[in-house]
Symmetry: D2
Subunit: 361 residues, 4 copies
Amino acid sequence: MSGSITGKLFRVVNFGESHGPAIGVVVDGCPAGVPFNNDLVTSDLIRRRPGQNTFSTQRKEIDEFELLSGVFEGKTTGTPIAMLIRNKDARPRDYEAIKNTYRPSHADYVYDKKYGFRDYRGGGRSSARLTASTVMAGAVAKMMLQEVSTISVQAFVHAIGKVALPEDFDYVENSVEDDILNCPLPEYSRRMQEEINQAKHNKDSIGGQIKCVVTGIPIGLGEPVYEKLDAVLASSLMAINAVKAVEIGSGVRAAIMKGSEHNDAFVLPDEGDQLRTSTNYSGGIQGGISNGEDILLKLSFKPVASIAKTQKTVTADNAATLLKVDGRHDPCVVPRAVPIVEAHVAIALADMWLWNQSSKI
Amino acid sequence: MSGSITGKLFRVVNFGESHGPAIGVVVDGCPAGVPFNNDLVTSDLIRRRPGQNTFSTQRKEIDEFELLSGVFEGKTTGTPIAMLIRNKDARPRDYEAIKNTYRPSHADYVYDKKYGFRDYRGGGRSSARLTASTVMAGAVAKMMLQEVSTISVQAFVHAIGKVALPEDFDYVENSVEDDILNCPLPEYSRRMQEEINQAKHNKDSIGGQIKCVVTGIPIGLGEPVYEKLDAVLASSLMAINAVKAVEIGSGVRAAIMKGSEHNDAFVLPDEGDQLRTSTNYSGGIQGGISNGEDILLKLSFKPVASIAKTQKTVTADNAATLLKVDGRHDPCVVPRAVPIVEAHVAIALADMWLWNQSSKI
Amino acid sequence: MSGSITGKLFRVVNFGESHGPAIGVVVDGCPAGVPFNNDLVTSDLIRRRPGQNTFSTQRKEIDEFELLSGVFEGKTTGTPIAMLIRNKDARPRDYEAIKNTYRPSHADYVYDKKYGFRDYRGGGRSSARLTASTVMAGAVAKMMLQEVSTISVQAFVHAIGKVALPEDFDYVENSVEDDILNCPLPEYSRRMQEEINQAKHNKDSIGGQIKCVVTGIPIGLGEPVYEKLDAVLASSLMAINAVKAVEIGSGVRAAIMKGSEHNDAFVLPDEGDQLRTSTNYSGGIQGGISNGEDILLKLSFKPVASIAKTQKTVTADNAATLLKVDGRHDPCVVPRAVPIVEAHVAIALADMWLWNQSSKI
Amino acid sequence: MSGSITGKLFRVVNFGESHGPAIGVVVDGCPAGVPFNNDLVTSDLIRRRPGQNTFSTQRKEIDEFELLSGVFEGKTTGTPIAMLIRNKDARPRDYEAIKNTYRPSHADYVYDKKYGFRDYRGGGRSSARLTASTVMAGAVAKMMLQEVSTISVQAFVHAIGKVALPEDFDYVENSVEDDILNCPLPEYSRRMQEEINQAKHNKDSIGGQIKCVVTGIPIGLGEPVYEKLDAVLASSLMAINAVKAVEIGSGVRAAIMKGSEHNDAFVLPDEGDQLRTSTNYSGGIQGGISNGEDILLKLSFKPVASIAKTQKTVTADNAATLLKVDGRHDPCVVPRAVPIVEAHVAIALADMWLWNQSSKI
């Protein structure tokens, strides 16, 4: 499984399984001299954590991370930054039941086929628990971006099931951190909570959408023709568990638009300002390169595959069986995925920012 | 612009500008012993070529390619396969007008900012002409996949503007090559042609959608956690000019689905057969790894930015100006993009196929 | 410092500093199904360890490693294998003296210049302590090679100062593990020990040479033209601390040889055997590809820079000063470097073995 | 053969076979704005060319290169720079004789085994002709280094057979370009010519050594722990055909030195100057990072395997045969390799220079 490393200059190495001794991450390539913000790592881990409210799984994952290397006297040294989280709530016995049973729309079957066998405890390497490692690396990326640029990455819940914010609501003026669902509009948040409760009541799960807005982005990030900024972001975001669609700017709506509508007209700048556009259907990226407008991203998440309903399935020995997953799972992971989305975007931008340093002499 | 190389084991190197001496591609990492099919390269180039019908640009690009290396006595040798296309229809004088003018929603402005200056002739490196290089590499990927697997990659036009095939039409039983728009259903094709004619009549352009179906895929392609098969495909597809959204399986619809609907139930296989699923909302990929079901992809294309209508814009010197692009451009590039989509997918799959050889001992 | 990851398919990620909380390594890309041999990791760590005899530094580094991920029920799972060693013997106060002093022929000065500052405790990231991480990864590489091939990697001390084994002594018939210096010929070992004692007595240090022989190598490893097997090995070996020369096969002697001497004549094989050569000046690699003969490598190590003699040097503030390094350092690190050399070679071969799987269909 | 791409940010892609239609190179990642110097490419190609004097092969390779992309109005645009050389002097019939015969110490046998078959014409992909592609890329690297730094790379012949310059002769004050052997000291050049003539007279070949000195190097190039500058250079240099040893600074002599001799003492700098060392046994690299002193490299080349003497060998069918290579081959390639060495070093330094831009904020 050699796909656990991402990035070219700002490189992130993800390791660990859901029920092994520990999970962790190594960030290699963060420049020296970035102030290391422990609290940012912790707060992003808390935002990602299940069990923090009724809408998430009941398991307690107290994700205290340990910083193992790469920071000296409060600053990054340019050496690999390793961070570790011990797995505490491991109860292997819980998973004996699924040892030989393939859960529908999980990775059990493909792991068995690809690797010959699998660590079946809690999903092993395919567990969403692994996203905690990415979140830690994302916090480092945010620290770096804050130090070298004005880039700010903010994600929020756009839709839960059929409850969606207005399509043109792209900007986060107030923090979403106070909202239990990471949704910026309280009246929508309430309706989304109902949607989730309904799913839970039905022993079912529900999908949703997250938007992510990047502000303060410099012009020039992205490397045509195969590592365009939108391509790199799409790769990074589609790697998040449960994501089935990635849209940039106008997204799927682009298909029904006319060129005269979709073209983002340039606006004469004031003296000293940079060129801006009057609309942003491009989503901040043209020809694969950031143009300084906000980057607008939208992700669609499938509903969680682990549902409390009894499902028919098959065993590793090709026998029919019934599967009843215990009730600790989230009926909707979208709210928890907000810091994960931010982490993936921040990591990609940190990498492309470093790469762009070599574009001209 | 060091993003012109893609792939890890099956590597593709794209070079050339729209109006330079030549464009070309180098494929490094294709295994030795693959029969080289000249006709496949040519036919894919013809499918991509503008000027072949009234719905595409009037420029004649007779894309005769030259094979420079990597093939001996009709077979690949394991050495880099270089292919070249001379640029014949270069008329630099046509582009003097846009030398200092930034076309809306083109890459002119960002190239100037990123690189300090740009080759403004015909879009230079940001031209869609470059896709011919990718199409040649894609043909090599198809040759390889045909030799080592049962994988077949077929794309088709799903929508032009608001004219869309039925959502559940995923399979290509008859070749789309006879259709002028690469659309598998003639009655829809006719309506799509009207949509394009309408846009042309209005000196405008129109967007659309392409679906791509991969059949015969082995179980196991994809490398969690950052190079999942869907992540790699998303990156590859979002790198195609004008693509604004990439969906896999259920795509954006996933967001409003319940887990009990979305889960793909396993079906007990007949003796000796492999496990299948009764639905395919996963789009052939679970946990980032192919599960043997067809891979289902959908792309949304924005309308072409080059329209015949006069547009307000600005110059490199921050002066207001009017832009009137000459009428040779396609009002809709979606039909021509069908072989490009296939090429991107085939290249990604060839690479992931090779990578997967090392997953177990 | 983004150079802490090596390899293409069998990837090794090294992290940690000499006096931070821990050092460790992540191996990403080891195929699933390889039996994990804890004892091999431990025994290679012990061979590398200083303090095991009078010829090495007095510091006690009890390198107990912890396996954090990637192994389930005794076998590798195809997921990243993370291993950790806590730093126990950290005494930061010992290093206050060199905080602002640049030790001659150490990395203090260049780290300060490259990164703006440095973790000065025990050499920080430039410490030879980091080689323990590589040794752990090397043990994993050895496990894999044992499972998939007949490859065996054996290094031994060839020379300490002017005491050198006969030049044509290339083969290890008996284990060197019984010898305190990892030298296969006891009579030479005794003279080498005297050489080291002499250096120690003089408060000085002494260089030496290690040879490494790879047997059982399949034909075909190596990827021309830039990742030839000899190039990959040279890179890997020159990355070892204190190595100043890497030779393959005939090495420096090649320069004074005639073609008629140097050419390795093919020998008609017996029925069913593979083609062999009567000599092996090529060192098992021709045209960058292994030819099945033993791979013969020789490395020259400079004497340790840390010597007990008082040396003149300068401070970070450009003032003259005297430096007296305490006496805990090895007068000769060459014997301890034997398992390090093996690790570097095994890692490179594991990677090239996997890569070679894609050379032909 | 997917090893034809080297570099991380300054990437070089080598393609072509000795007797195919063309050879060439693509440089991806050269920053925009570097003045492109056609004459430098041509002069380095001429220096590499065989047939220019009696000491080299009689084949005429008029290597006129064509620039295909990446340069506009005399400057690099940041896009891939592709360069092509047509193969003119291809006479396939000359090579029928070796179609089924394995030449000793050539790559014929290993290519057959690795790839299943080979392009046997003139060595195909293993031909030294390919070095022309690297030399073109090296010229681009030199252009870039000249623009962004004071780095200068100069190689020269140090030894032919047993005729060697004084060991401490490291600096090139006068150009070696006037010397037929690229040797800086005329009296040694004459003796070297005799050595070559002697080998030729004996229908034999002879090895030799090249030194390369890099001046004007900034402090900080190199990325510990696996991509140290010396490791990267060793990889690059060992990839050159016929190289069997790479030494840095003290090289093999390091093994017999004492620490007190080998340590490079710091010298108090004059006001405003940078810190220097009084000796340079480190060869300009400490802890894997350049320290600002000249980088000192030495390479040992084996004698050419193609000799005019009749040799016993075997066929692909395991039959004994006699091999008589025609007399057009160089008895010594070392003089021609001087620009090749410079190219490899310049490419590696260009890449590491770009990489180092991201070491600190």
